[in-house]
Amino acid sequence: MTTVVSGGRKQSAAEAELSRRSQSPAQRLQHLLHANPAISPALILVVTVIVFSIINPRFFTANAQSTLVQQSAIVMALAIGQTLIILTAGIDLSVGAITILAMMVMATVASKNGVPGPLALLIGVALGTAAGYLNGLLVTRLNLPPFIVTLGTLSIFTGLALLYSGGASVNADQMPPVLNWAGNSFKIGGFTITTGVIIVLVMYAVVGFALSQTAWGRHIYAVGDDAESARLSGIASKRVLLSVYTVAGLIFGIAAWCQIGRASVASPNGIVDANLNSITAVVIGGTSLFGGRGGVLGTLLGALIVQAFQTGLSLAGVDPNYRLIAVGILVIVAVSVDQWIRKVKS
């Protein structure tokens, strides 16, 4: 029922109480955060940077900040695809496995089979897309929960990557230059920026645009918020889901290219914890695990917050194990805040 008080009538005691209560600062904050989910991660990032810069001034140097951005670039990239999937109320545990598979295949076909660089890149990215499509098919055709599907494909893709590569790494000097292109860097002021970081930021811009400005983006939010209502409204929910998993696979394929550039090696044992880190970035970025709420801007900030914690605590001389604990606490706090924001009332 409405609690709006009509103009001419005298307020009753209860209505006066309601209008007094609706002006509480906590509730206004709740409404603000509800309407703009990227505000809270932005505030957390600013506070994090200020606090760590006070603890150790080296944190605020261009050098440290450049490294921080480069270190978080891969998680940032994977978290874009993860955001799309979590917006549909799904989850993808196989993000790291898809990336490793795409990376090992593009590196191995180029170094062992002599496939030209651009074609090897294309094969790897296409394979990542196909892996995402397979996840999507299993979720939409077999009606399995995304958690179970991607738990299974996590093992399958990891196994395939190890089988194909024989467990061996491929070094950068064995690969054509195009596969290392993402590792190239240039300087702006004191900051060192890699082409990999630029690729990731371009992906953020494209996906952010698609989410906020196109019908596809709107349908993702609708399916994630209430799949049955979306279907009754005329949205082809399964087609939207399939497209989301496929686009996520494409993003993971491109992330594989960025990872080779960043690490100067394609190793089947790298980025194994990337799936959980990508979920952490999404959740801290204010995207709801229940679907339908959030966006990639928050995720970008979330990925930076996690890395800022890691770098900041390291520069402050904190034991690496305490860093893990700190990130864990951050995740739980972020989800609690999300729950509180979702309880917003009119």
């Binding site: 645009f209 400005q213 019908a215 709107r218 609708a222 005329g234 339908g292």
Partner: protein, 279 residues
């Protein structure tokens, strides 16, 4: 956005009164295994009228509506729109033909704003390359047209089309769902229990909305358990009993008590097909 259209009266199947029903069902049969949902039901909706459908639980109201809105396919019988036979295999086909249904669950998305909900799955893009190449949505245009659609139904309580639906009251949500149906339903709007979850004041606002739709010439099929509401807005009342049409009455010809008596079988009406027992 399509606006309310005058019903096409140049149809082929003329009926008794010389008027062509906008939507007509003849001998509709629907079975589920050995359970009979509809047993040869007829139904007519004429231009600019509110046809209420009442009946006890299990009488076949929902089955009837689902057949008309394309959710179920008929086993036998024929549905005609403006006198032309039509077959709907899925809800989208009925919607494309101009039959809009407001489900009891409303089928609106709480996280999206009012304008987005009105245009859900029918989004309009910007003109020029921004729309055709970048596929950008015409947000402002949709918001403006959503605003005039809502104003046109006389809904004063909703002002800001950018408000998310989850911040609205139950009555306001119902208004958004009805506004969506009215904006795109060019032939018939079907409302399934629109006042069931609402308070007295909000229920009355929805009834006013139904009257306004009728005054615009858009026929409305109203399914309701609320007899005072039905007797207030309906032009004719279709009474469903045991998978058949028991009677068609008007609020003038029969009282509410008569209606309930027919619903429960305590009273039968001469001249209606329920009295012609087919064995």
């Amino acid at each position: 956005m399509s606006t309310v259209q005058e019903a096409d009266t140049s149809g082929v199947q003329d009926t008794a009164g010389g008027r062509t029903p906008v939507l007509q069902g003849k001998g509709m049969v629907k079975t589920f295994g050995r359970v009979i949902g509809l047993d040869g039901v007829d139904l007519e909706v004429y231009p600019g009228e509110v046809l209420a459908i009442i009946g006890d639980n299990g009488a076949g109201k929902s089955t009837l509506i689902k057949c008309l809105s394309g959710a179920y396919a008929l086993d036998a019988g024929q549905i005609s729109l403006d006198g032309h036979p039509v077959t709907f295999k899925k809800p989208q086909e009925a919607r494309d033909a101009g039959i809009e249904t407001v489900y009891q669950t409303l089928a609106i998305i709480p996280a999206l704003d009012i304008a987005s909900n009105l245009y859900l799955a029918r989004e309009e893009r910007r003109p020029g390359p921004l729309g055709s190449v970048l596929r950008m949505l015409d947000k402002k245009g949709m918001r403006d047209r959503a605003s005039s659609a809502v104003q046109g139904l006389g809904i004063q309580t909703i002002q800001n089309m950018g408000q998310t639906v989850e911040t609205l009251s139950g009555g306001q949500r119902q208004a958004v769902a009805v506004a969506r149906a009215a904006a795109f339903g060019s032939k018939v709007v079907i409302l399934d229990e629109p006042t069931a979850a609402l308070g007295v004041k909000e229920g009355n606002a929805v009834l006013d909305m139904i009257k306004r739709l009728r005054d615009k010439g858009l026929p409305v099929i109203l399914i309701s358990h609320n007899m005072p509401h039905v007797w207030e807005v309906a032009d004719r009342i279709h009474i469903q009993r045991l998978a058949r049409r028991a009677a068609v009455i008007t609020p003038q010809s029969h009282t509410m008590n008569d209606g309930v008596a027919i619903m429960t079988g305590a009273m039968t009406v001469e001249g209606n097909d329920a009295t012609k027992e087919a064995v």
